[in-house]
């Protein structure tokens, strides 16, 4: 157990973030909170990729003139996650834009209230 905590703690962080994000998305009635839950969920995945790139004693992957100097941290997951973060930011922006539209139309951002309004429409 102790060994797991000291060596694999990044994975525990990943699992915690995924669980918190999913819980917030399912349990919260507030659309903005749901979107934040989605962000936390995605962050869990980002941390997973970045922890997968880590090498003990690895340096940043910049080869000095003359070469050598390994081991390096894998640069690939970092690049991928940079892209995924950009995607996540765009999604958050679109989602918040939709929430603004919903608020303008119905005067609420609460899912339960909205369901009632839509059912009576």
């Amino acid at each position: 157990m102790i060994e797991l905590l000291t060596t694999k703690y990044t994975y525990l962080v990943v699992v915690a973030l995924l669980a918190i994000g999913a819980y917030v998305m399912i349990e919260s009635d507030n659309f903005v909170k749901k979107i934040i839950g989605l962000n936390i969920f995605q962050t869990g995945i980002f941390v997973f990729f970045i922890s997968a790139a880590f090498r003990t004693g690895g340096r940043s992957p910049v080869v000095q003139s003359g070469g050598g100097g390994g081991p390096f941290v894998s640069p690939l997951p970092h690049v991928l996650i940079l892209t995924a973060i950009v995607v996540g930011v765009s999604l958050t922006a679109v989602a918040l834009g939709l929430v603004v539209r919903i608020y303008e139309s119905y005067g609420t951002i609460n899912e339960d209230t909205l369901e009632e309004v839509l059912a009576n429409e």
Binding site: A22, F41, Q42, I45, F48, L80, L98
Partner: protein
Amino acid sequence: MSDTLVPLLVAVPLLGALLTVASGLVTERGPPAVAAGVLTVQTALAAWIGSRAIADGPLSNEVGGFVAPYGIELVVDGLSAVVVVLVAAVSLVVLVYTVRDDPGGAAFYTEYLLLVTGLSGMSVTGDVFNLYVFLEISGLATYALVASAGDGRSAVAALKYLLFGTVAASLYLLGVGYALVATGTLNMADLSVELAQAGYDSPLVLASFGFIVVGLATKTALFPLHTWQPDAYNDAPDSVSALIAALVSTVAAYALLRILYTVYTPAFFEAVPVARDALVVFACVSIVVGSVLAVAQSEVKRMLAYSSVSQYGLVVVGLAIGTPAAVFGAIVHLVGHAIMKGGLFVAAGTIDDLTGATTAEEYAGLAGRFPVLGGASAALMLAMVGVPPAVGFAGKWYIALGAVRAGTWPVAVVIFASTLLTLAYFAILVERMFVAPASASMQAATDGGSERLGGPATPPRGVLALIIGAAVVALILGLAVTDLQTALQPTIDSLLS
């Protein structure tokens, strides 16, 4: 074979999207004209590259000159050729209806072209992370398009779709992460070799398979992961319903095919038979429940949406069985479904415009008022049910044939049962249209033109031609299916070997 034209399949609609914005600043009529021009070029390009890929074998391109497996590779083989041509052609044809539907503004056409960019990219990419990026590009464009009706209801549907779609894409990304940890590569062709070396029973590989399949199944809208789909189809503007019903889930199902056979390969299914069984059961439940839910609907667009849940179940069951006949049937059904469902959504939208009818009850007497429109819609419905020689029959026939040959005959029974249920919900509509006495809204349409103020009194010619065209293609494609089989056989064989 290396080919420099392949990246243009992604670049043309992407640059076209920018051009649409620019043309919107000059003149209001610019954006639809530019979009039509760009999609014409895209269709011609896709047909040219696709025909060469089918004739000469797969074409590939290493983007930016970075050598695969380190760089991103774009590949067009027989299957991606079919899908990329379908995406280009359907989006060009639906544009005719879109212009009639008049969603307005350069932003709409930009989103439209961005959706085509994403879908074309998903069709031709040979890299699993690149597939994620294109998945999100098409996703973002779809959410914006669904919300483009401008009312609160479409915003709610779009947000619901966004939450589901993003979780689906995130699960896919997590699966890609597991595969990356297991193998250190992202190139599809390379992964198929590396995954075998990592061991198919390794927990990393199994977890990656699970996450990727669940993610793509949500995007494809299989039961019980379909709940976003009826709202999105129902509350979107009519032209957008037609486009996304025809293409978005279709390309997601194609991506699932790529993952199952290019990345995980049939050897994975042999090593882990439970994966195949689970997928078959999952898809069969989707077929039956989707049909039952469709029968229970009274609103026509919602009924068509639930029908899609069932039809994609059929496609996935064909993929999961994995004999050459079943996979070919899945592809035929994918293409056929896109044409038929796109046509039906255009028809439903047109009927709504003309008469305000949106439920099966209100469809009563439609054929008396609009015989051509009613006849073409009925032809599309019968094609969907699977009356020979329509394409709906050909797809189901090959899937059932593959299932029987693989010894999983219960699947054939499920397909037969779902056909009866499909007949049940479309027969209600056909009976209403042709036999039942005219409803109040049809009466209004007959007496005083359209019930909707300012709506047209007869179907617009272009849109009518489009619906008839879809019906004709759906009927004759069933006859051309043997030629298609000859063309695709080498690709399917190499995929399943």
